[in-house]
């Protein structure tokens, strides 16, 4: 089995990108963007999460399709949970 071994350089690069993302999150929160503050914060968090999943958790190099299937399943059901709940609670005050 040819297990992919990432270089130390790549890990350090991802680490620096994650730290930069944290700094960016704090900076962006101090600028008034109205409702876009939340969108920017969650976008940066999602980019950071994707970096962790792809490189630190080795999903980019996984031979197993099952791993990717599990991840897609997790995102899909989380989406159903959040989207349908908000479609209900978010519209209850409309009248």
């Amino acid at each position: 089995m040819s297990e992919h071994i990432s270089s130390v350089k790549l890990y350090v690069g991802i680490w620096l990108a994650l730290l930069a993302g944290t700094g960016l999150t704090v900076l962006a929160a101090r600028i008034d963007l109205g409702p876009f503050n939340t969108i920017v914060a969650l976008s940066i968090a999602t980019i950071k999460a994707i970096l962790v999943v792809l490189f630190f958790m080795h999903v980019k190099y996984a031979h197993e399709k099952m791993t990717k299937l599990v991840i897609v399943t997790a995102i899909f059901f989380l989406f159903i949970l959040l989207a349908l709940s908000m479609a209900d609670y978010g519209t209850r005050l409309w009248s």
């Binding site: 089995m1 914060a41 958790m57 791993t67 908000m86 609670y89």
Partner: protein, 236 residues
């Protein structure tokens, strides 16, 4: 459980002692363990997802009160803790890499560093929790009081009930996250001991890899918790 002589003989002839008899190859065994870990993480996504969903609903309903309560947290401590966790994710990734390339001593060092960073995180979290108790920001305290104005509405104090909903979610989410950290530190303490005894090699380091997946997942949860809890409507 009984072992037939045939199976025992099979074990003895095989070059990899970590290969269990019900797997055909080491690769199959590793894939099965990895898949099991990912399915467990899927259940963890749904577990934390429920709390994120509750957070989302109340944040939408009580946005101003949530923003005011969020301002009472120290974002500096939250940011430092985010950095600490990111560093610990790097040390875990390096420990797994040590398993791949067979650097046993370096693996012990990286695992020990991970424990240390995990404890630093929990220590800072403990300080934050103590501050909340001192400031009477713990939901259910008879003298609960949040003297924080709603952002953009000068002079309007946050609704005390709604603020308690925020702090309930704050303690539930960071508390469950901290519990995961404590379990992770325990796991890594065990793995450090095993690695020190020389249990892991390029042929077998699955426990380190799976504990690493768990730790990275806990890191991802915090990556979302930090902006959602600490940085609601923060601009001056």
């Amino acid at each position: 459980m009984h072992t037939s002589p045939v199976t025992t003989a099979h074990h003895e002839t095989h070059e990899n002692p970590a290969l269990l008899h019900h797997f055909a190859t080491a690769e199959q065994q590793k894939n099965a363990a990895s898949f099991g870990m990912w399915v467990f993480l899927l259940t963890e996504v749904m577990f934390f997802g429920g709390m994120f969903c509750a957070y989302l609903v109340y944040r939408y309903w009580y946005f101003g009160d949530f923003a005011a309560a969020s301002k009472s947290l120290d974002w500096r401590l939250g940011a430092v803790n985010t950095a600490v966790l990111i560093c610990s994710s790097l040390t875990v990734a390096m420990a797994v890499r040590c398993g791949q390339v067979g650097k046993q001593k370096a693996m012990v060092v990286y695992l020990a560093l991970t424990i240390l960073l995990g404890l630093v995180f929990l220590g800072i979290k403990g300080i934050e929790y103590r501050d909340k108790f001192v400031e009477h920001h713990v939901p259910g305290q008879s003298d609960f009081q949040l003297k924080e104005a709603i952002p953009r509405q000068p002079g309007v104090l946050a609704n005390q009930q709604h603020a308690q909903v925020y702090f309930s979610l704050y303690f539930a989410m960071t508390g469950m996250h901290a519990l995961h950290m404590i379990i992770g530190v325990g796991l890594f303490a065990f793995l450090t001991y095993k690695a020190w005894k020389g249990a892991y090699s390029p042929e077998y380091y699955t426990p380190v890899e799976n504990a690493g997946l768990y730790w990275h997942f806990v890191d991802i949860v915090w990556i979302y918790l930090f902006p959602l809890l600490y940085l609601i409507d923060r601009h001056p």
